[in-house]
Symmetry: C2
Subunit: 147 residues, 2 copies
DNA sequence: CCAAGGTTGTCAACATGTTGTCAAACTGCC
DNA sequence: GGCAGTTTGACAACATGTTGACAACCTTGG
């Protein structure tokens, strides 16, 4: 098949990613409001939970595709709010290790449950195969840009 | 098939949308730098070009899924930079009509060409059908949230 | 006509992302 | 050991998005 038609579809995907990103941030803020948490903070909790062990700020940043400065600001504020714990890093005097506090763990698990129901509603009428294709395509596009 | 597996894939898509959104903004900024334009401004140019006729600020905002205040700030700055023209709206004394200036049209068409080549590179190895599935899924998710 | 309610522009405060710069800490190589 | 290059934290400036509030404008129904 000719590639002539791919450009326009690709452009539409780009625009839809922007729009959906905005909607997802709003939705995350709405769901997190009950626990005094925003989408950005939720993502930090998720990154730490996924990692399974304490991480440095640059590690979190790399795993999320953000700059370390953006993550540092969030992490500092979240520690102030008792969502995170700082521990000295035996391997590096400056780069402290960040982990979830008990409060952070509690909030994240409640958000996880809330999000699960929401994800189910959102993905109603979309097949598993379609979701997997979508994820694969988005990852390949990210990969092509990152290179 | 059970829906048990859909939640995790859905969550990964959400995270990938965030990540890709950031990459796309960076890439747009990089491509637009040559013409002194950012991703956000590019999107305004695109919305006006797509509409085909002068639009008000709230119309642009609705078409892009942004708030009118965010669009207003961009539009004001872009008019200052001679990318846009303001015209009085015969139907509404406050809501001026915004259109592309000659400079705006020129910049947009050059960006369009530049973006076309980039889109082709990015979508190498992805089939037309996969792209269309992806667009459809993203639109359905947006629709489910917007509701 | 006019009062009520929605839309628009404007201003302000804030959240979250970027880039750039600097010094301190680490790493690797000679 | 020590020097060069990289990584990290801190700070600042800026871009882009949000919400909230207010007054001006428009529309509609009685």
């Amino acid at each position: 098949m000719s590639d002539a038609q791919k450009g326009p579809v690709f452009t539409e995907i780009v625009l839809e990613v922007f729009k959906l990103g905005g909607l997802l941030v709003s939705e995350g803020d709405r769901m997190g409001a009950e626990y005094g948490i925003t989408s950005a903070r939720w993502k930090i909790l998720g990154a730490l939970s996924l990692a399974g062990e304490p991480q440095t700020v640059p590690q979190i940043a790399r795993s999320m595709g953000l700059t370390r400065q953006a993550v540092q600001r969030l992490v500092d504020a979240m520690q102030e709010d008792d969502l995170l714990l700082f521990q000295d890093n035996p391997g590096h005097k400056r780069a402290r290790l960040i982990s979830l506090s008990d409060l952070g763990k509690t909030v994240y698990s409640k958000l996880y449950e809330k999000q699960s129901g929401w994800a189910k509603t959102c993905s109603a009428g979309i097949t598993q195969a379609e979701l997997e294709t979508t994820l694969s395509v988005l990852e390949r596009i990210s990969g092509a840009i990152d290179r």
